[in-house]
Structures are given as C-alpha cells and as structure tokens.
Subunit: 477 residues, 2 copies
C-alpha cells in the first residue's frame, strides 16, 4: 500500500522528494493517513488546514490538526475562509463555495511556501463514486477515468500540481493503518465535502450494485485505470491529427483542413472537436455528446459553406477546403480585399481607391494594346484586368454585390451567370463574399477581381483607349 503511494508520487506525478509538498488536512482519516505516511516516508510535507467555519466544532478541528502535525514535527499552516459569505455573494451552494475557497486557499499557501504540489486525500472509494456518477450522468472514456493522480495545469495553478496519491488506496486499508498506528481521527469529516447526490450514491446505490456484483467497486476502479491508459493512447492519436490538419490557431479561431478531418476515424473527430471547444472555454470538460455529433454531421455534409452553433458561443464555420472553430460571430477576413456593403465608390481613371485590409484598386489608362508593358503582361495575375473604355456605358464604380447581380464572363458566349453562384463555384471563401469588391458600370458587373472578367468591355486589337485595373495589397502605406 505504502509502496503504491510512493510509486504514484514518484512515477505518475514525478514529484521530487526534496521539494515541499502541501498536504490538505481536514482532520478526517484519509488526510491524516496521507500526512502520516508521507512524513514517515521522508517527504518534506507541510500540513495545511482550511477552517470552513461551518460547524460548531470547526475551530476544535483546526486545533486538532495543528497538534497532530506538531506531534509529528511537521510544519503547519492554517487558514480560515468565509464560506457563507462567498456562497451568498456568488449565489452558489455552500458545498461548492467551500470547495472553491478550500482549493484557492491551499494553492495560495502552496505558492507562498514554494511547494511543488498540493496533495489531497481522495481515496479509491471516492474514485469509484466519481466514476459511477460520471456513468450515471453520461460520459465517455474521458469521464470513466475518474480523478487523476496528477493534474497540471489545474484551475488553480499553472505550475503547482494537484496530486491525489490515494486514488488506489481503499478506505478500509486506511482505517486499518490508523488503528495499527493508534491514530484517532477527531471525527469523520469525509461527508463534509460531498453533496447530497454523492452521499446517496455512496450509501444507497453502491451497496445495491454490490448485491448484483460483489466485486463491483474493484471492477469500477480497474475500469478507471484502463480507461486512463486508453484515453492517453487516443489523445496521442488526436495530437497527431491536430498537428497534421490544423492550419491556424489564434485566440479567437482555429482552422482545420476539412477533408483531412472528415476522413479521420470518428473517435479522433470527436476528441479533436472537444479539444477545439476547450480552446475557447478552458477547463470545459462537460461538452455534451449531441453538440459534438452536431458538429461532426455538419462537417460531413457535402456542402461548401455554412455555419452551426456548437455551445456557449463557439461555432463551426465551414468553407470548401477549411473549417473554422471560433468564438467570433464572423471570422475576421484580414487577408481579403473587402468593401463596406453599403458603399458605392466612384473609380477615377487614372486614380486609386483604397479598400479594406490594405488593398488598393489602381486604375491607369493606355491608348493602345501594345502599350501594355511586357512586364505587366508577364506578371498579369487574376488581380489585373483591362477594359475597352469606349465600350463602357458610364463611369466605373466599386461596390459590394447586390442581390440579383449577374455577370457575362468571357468565354461563355454571352451567357450570364449569377455573381453569387460564380463566387460559390470559384470557391471564393464564404465569409469574404458579401463584401468582395466588384468593379461595375451602372448595374453591369464587369469584374470580380481575382475570379472573373465580363466580356462586355473586352479589349481587342481595335481598342484605342484601354483602362488597366490592378488590385494590389499595399500594407506599406
């Protein structure tokens, strides 16, 4: 038993025997046992008692823990917390308030004392109850692991670990040890922390289940152990998938390769989405199954764009090749030329019009097709266009698309198509479409920069006044 605890601390938690360990000691059997065993085994322990001030005997218990530590020559630190005040201020249950304040205070003390870890006395019995409650409330393998020997980072610290070295030690063995060592816990406080539901599980449900299977508690503890290792293995697979298919990670959004994701095994898809949600809601472990399946089904649909809410403001945005997980309403589109949906800007020739995100539309005039320089021709890209000025029916304007906009692209024999369809077919990213700048003449769309040119004002050998348009990104000015 003692060897197992040593093994958990040294191997699973990677604790150094030379470092200070802060042990949370309520005065109940589990924490007294933990303190006693660690002290005996040469760990540098400090006993920390948090006085919740909830019951008449609370002060006496604090003195009891102090005396116990002093008798063993163990350093002691005690703190009082105002549970009732905190509970009514935050409008939370007393037990929850006690739990939050207790951990907060323990970690404050650990930080002050330069401790490597805060150790608490959760036992195998607690672990079995936790696993059973996860089963009842609905859980996958993640919850079946129960509590962990070592949690770092944890909600209270990024560098001080929370360790639970007694998770494989049964309370019956603890009681036997205490008896053999003539240690009398002042009282059994084990029920203090536990809410009503846990108490019912402990005192009613578990005994019932053991009538069906006498080894049920051992079986559940073991399920926790194998689930932990299975979970770790699956997470290694998820790490690899994330590294392979993640294409952007920023505080407000994540991007992944869409077909890469949809070809992953369902198991990896689920955990990857869970991890993506946790990116925006750190510490979120209660992501429900429906939410994950909604996301997976949405991504599996063979549609180029769209979005779906996952939970708590986190949504999925689907594009042709990429999907985004984001806490934003709209993804930022810093890389694309964008124009306000309401604007309609006159385009002087020659001249320049500035659009969003550092892009500039430059218009120049040449009098003959031969005057388009060799360099220009060689470097002509999808962000350049030439028009025959004489074919234009009015001035050029720059605006965003309107409902019903059509274009007659070159090469389609005068056939016109909807601008919105063109944007979809050309895989212009969905979130950039609405504000994409269009070069128009009256109601006529002449150019969707980057995508298609209209045949309406095409340049030919007879053209004598040619307008050269160029959309360039100019972040320097």
């Amino acid at each position: 038993m003692i060897e197992q605890i040593d093994n958990i601390l040294l191997h699973d938690c990677q604790i150094h025997k030379t470092e200070v360990l802060l042990v949370g000691v309520s005065g109940g059997p589990d924490s007294l046992f933990l303190l006693h065993v660690l002290n005996k085994n040469g760990y540098k322990v400090v006993a920390a008692h948090i006085n919740h001030k909830l019951r008449p005997e609370a002060d006496e218990e604090a003195r009891f823990v102090r005396r116990f530590a002093e008798q063993l020559g163990i350093a002691y630190t005690g703190r009082e917390v105002d549970v009732q005040g905190y509970a009514s201020e935050r409008k939370i249950a007393t037990e929850e308030a006690a739990r939050i304040l207790r951990y907060e205070t323990l970690f404050e003390q650990a930080d002050r004392l330069g401790a490597q870890a805060v150790l608490v006395g959760h036992t195998a019995d607690d672990q079995v109850e936790t696993i059973l409650m996860h089963l009842l409330r609905g859980s996958g393998i993640s919850g079946l692991r129960g509590m962990q020997y070592c949690t770092l980072p944890n909600p209270w610290s990024k560098h001080i670990m929370l360790a639970r070295p007694l998770l494989s030690t049964w309370r019956a063995d603890i009681m036997r040890y205490l008896e053999q060592n003539q240690i009398n816990p002042a009282f059994d406080q084990t029920n203090l922390d536990t809410a009503y539901f846990r108490n019912r599980v402990r005192h009613e449900l578990l005994p019932t289940l053991m009538e069906y299977a006498p080894h049920f508690r051992q079986n559940l503890l073991r399920l926790g152990q194998v689930s932990r290792d299975d979970y770790d293995l699956i997470q290694e697979n998820v790490d690899a998938a994330w590294d392979t298919f993640n294409t952007a990670q920023e505080p407000e959004y994540l991007a992944f390769h869409r077909t890469g994701f949809t070809h992953l095994p369902p198991s990896i898809q689920r955990y990857l989405l869970r991890r993506a949600i946790e990116w925006f809601i750190p510490g979120m472990t209660d992501v429900d199954f429906e939410c994950i399946e909604r996301g997976r089904n949405f991504l599996a649909e063979d549609k180029p764009s769209g979005q779906v809410d996952l939970m708590a403001g986190v949504r999925l945005i689907r594009e042709a090749k990429t999907f985004w997980v984001t806490s934003l309403n709209d993804l930022p589109v810093p890389e694309y030329p964008q124009i306000s949906a309401a604007e309609s800007i006159f385009l002087p020739v020659p001249g320049k019009v500035r659009v969003n995100n550092g892009w500039v539309l430059e218009a120049a005039q040449v009098s003959k097709i031969e005057q388009i320089g060799a360099w220009e021709k060689a470097n002509a890209d999808r962000y350049q266009a030439w028009f025959d000025m004489e074919k234009l029916k009015g001035p050029l304007v720059l605006r965003a698309r309107k409902s019903g906009d059509r274009i007659q692209p070159e090469g389609l024999g005068g056939h016109s198509i909807k601008v919105s369809d063109l944007m979809i077919n050309q895989k212009l990213p969905a979130r950039a479409r609405r504000k994409w700048p269009l070069v128009c003449c009256g109601d006529e769309v002449l150019w969707v920069p980057g995508y298609r040119l209209s045949s309406q004002a095409s340049v030919d050998q007879g053209s004598t006044t040619i307008i050269h348009l160029k959309l360039v990104r100019d972040l320097g000015t």
Copy 2:
C-alpha cells in the same frame, strides 16, 4: 427509426439488398417488427422460427410465425430443436442450450438458403442491459461496446454474418410501430432468452438507476457507441504494433520483439496481449485483467529469461530480445543445434556427427597451421574451431551441459567461468541452452559452438596436428 435501421444494414453491415437475409423470428414484438420493416423496405427476407419445445404454447407460436410470414408473402422456414436433451447431455443450463441450438440451427438454415446474414432482433433496451451487465461483471472499453451491429466471423460461421440492426431502436418505439400497423405479437417472448440475472437487471436494477439519472439508458447506449469507435481506433494502433513487433506466428506460438513491446503505451500492450491469447483460444473475450497485468509485469522485469502462465494453458516465455506467447509446454527449437540431454557421443577425427534439427558437426585433421586454407580462414565463423590435438588428454565427445560445467575461455588468462553463466551472458536463447551441444574432452568443456572456445587446447605456431571442427546446418541430406 426505419431510416436508421436501413443505414445500419447498408452502411455498418454492408448488406446488399439483393441478397437473402434470414431473420430469426420468435414471434415476440422485436423480431416481428424486424421482419415487417425489412419486408416493407424491399429486403429479400426469409423468416426462420426455431421451436425450442420448452413451453406448452411452443407449437402454437411456430404456427403463428408461419401464418404471419405467409400473410406478408415472406418465405418461411421452421425447425424444432431438442433443448432439454442437449442441456442434459452437455450439462449446461436450459437457457444456454436453447441459445446455442438456436444460433446453430439459424446458421444451418442460412447456409442452406445461401443467405448473406442471420438477423436477430436485439434492441437498444437489450443493448443497455448487456452493457450494464458488462459493467457489473468488470470490463474495459471492449465490453462497454455491448453487442455489435455486425459480427463476422462469428462462432457459427466464417462467411455468414450475424447482424443486429435494432441495437439502436428502443422497444417503446417498436411497440408503437406494431400498434400503428395493427400487428399483435402472439405473446411477449422477450424474457425467454434471458437468464435470471438479466431479468433482475432489467426489472429491478435499471429502474433503480434511472431514479438517480433519468437519462441513464440513453447515456449507456451512447457510451456503447463512443466506446465502439474508441475501441476501433485503439485496435488500429494495435494492428500497427502487431505488424511492427511480431516476429513469428504459428498455430502453437507467437513471437514478439521484447523491448519494442515494453516501450508501447500500456493500452496497446494490454490489447496486444489479449489478442495474442485469443490466437490460441478463438472467441475468448473473457480474459481477465489480472492475467493481462501479470503478463505485462513479467515482460517489464529486467531479466533475460523465464516464463509465466497466463490462462488456460497459454503462457509467456521471455528471452533476451524476444518473448513468446504459446500453448506449448516448451517451445520447439527447430532452428538450433540440439542434442539429447542424456547422450554423450564420441567424435571421430576425421568424421561427422549428426545432431538434431539438421545440424552436423564435422571434424577434420590438418598437420600444420598453414594448411588451414585461405577460404576456411576467411569464412571462419563462430561455428568453427581449431584445436591442437597433442594438447588433448583424451578423445573428443559431444554432449549437453551438466550441472557444474565450467570452461576456461580464451582471453580470460586461464580464469574459468560456469558454462550456464556464459550461456546467459552470451544471450544464448534460454529454451535452447539445456540441449546445446558442447565439445568436451573428459570433463573439460573445450567449445560452446557459436559462443566460446577454451584456451586449454589452443592452436599455435608449434602445433603439428590440428583438429578443425565445423558445426553446419545441412538440411539437404
């Protein structure tokens, strides 16, 4: 609901709508529903009823199923089985006998009719009970999957699948469907198959658990679904590990690279050992946790050899670089030169002595060290040795090692070491040591072929009569 069943059959089971499906129909609501729905959806179903002859109404039920099928224009096949006879002959419980005979007969019928699958009507309710029973009796993720939509191969056939397309359909929905379609099951036979334990779980434990968590049944069904996918993912990892580290697979033994195995994540180690045990006990799913951990701990020990029993005659044999899983008491050692432990064979010079597994020890004589040919020298390997004949105190014999055997290896300054230690240090495989041929002269061990030569009869420039020994494998004669 119907769409889901279709999806399971076409996607999960890969069933072809053009193939014959044999549906096991007891006459209870689940199987009547299954038959009705499949028929309506255009599957080519045959209704098969197995009459267990256990209850007075059994014959009437058989007629009922026949009529039901005929009214829908579905082909029908009925068989009677002697459950009581089989149960008393095999000394097994009636329910177990009924189950075995039922499946055997269904698969016989399916084979006769050229069916692609045998379909049975297990529902989501049955699935939840199965998962809960696995939880009670102790299980990892494998058991938490519950029953599978599709099992192939299965204990009854290698090519006809066992399909359970109703595993995600709740019985309440089935009852509603039957009512809407005015189908009256003759009786509710759902309890017939189920043993006492399952009935207690269904009627007592599940209702109790649902008092703690109203969605417990749904939660458990979902746990089954995610466990299935997690399990499949883990198995992909196990496949890869097996392919990488398996070095031999024969009906009686498997061999694996030992350090490769010990560096695998614990999760993969466990499933790989499970799979290795199943290699010898096909269909074995009930491998207990202790057995697997015993194996893992044994393999993790930093000792060169040894063996440990796993279960049911399957054992692990550990060597320096390899470990074996085997159903044999001793591994066969076909590749090694071996000699009967009792023999002591005179070695004529020149001459040949045949040892086991196709090896031959050849002795030749040369009169001067220069006469050892260039080819021989160039090709000298650890299976060749030269002795100065004049330094020998008697004739050469070939024998297995004896307790207390020592050798004075060349290069140790006359210091002698135990032959058994030498074998261990030189990593001679443990199972080949006892019968390894030694070349001796009286009690003196002169040569451990393949490993060490004694300094007792070393050849030098002054040697005039030299014996050349060569241990070669000669499978051609």
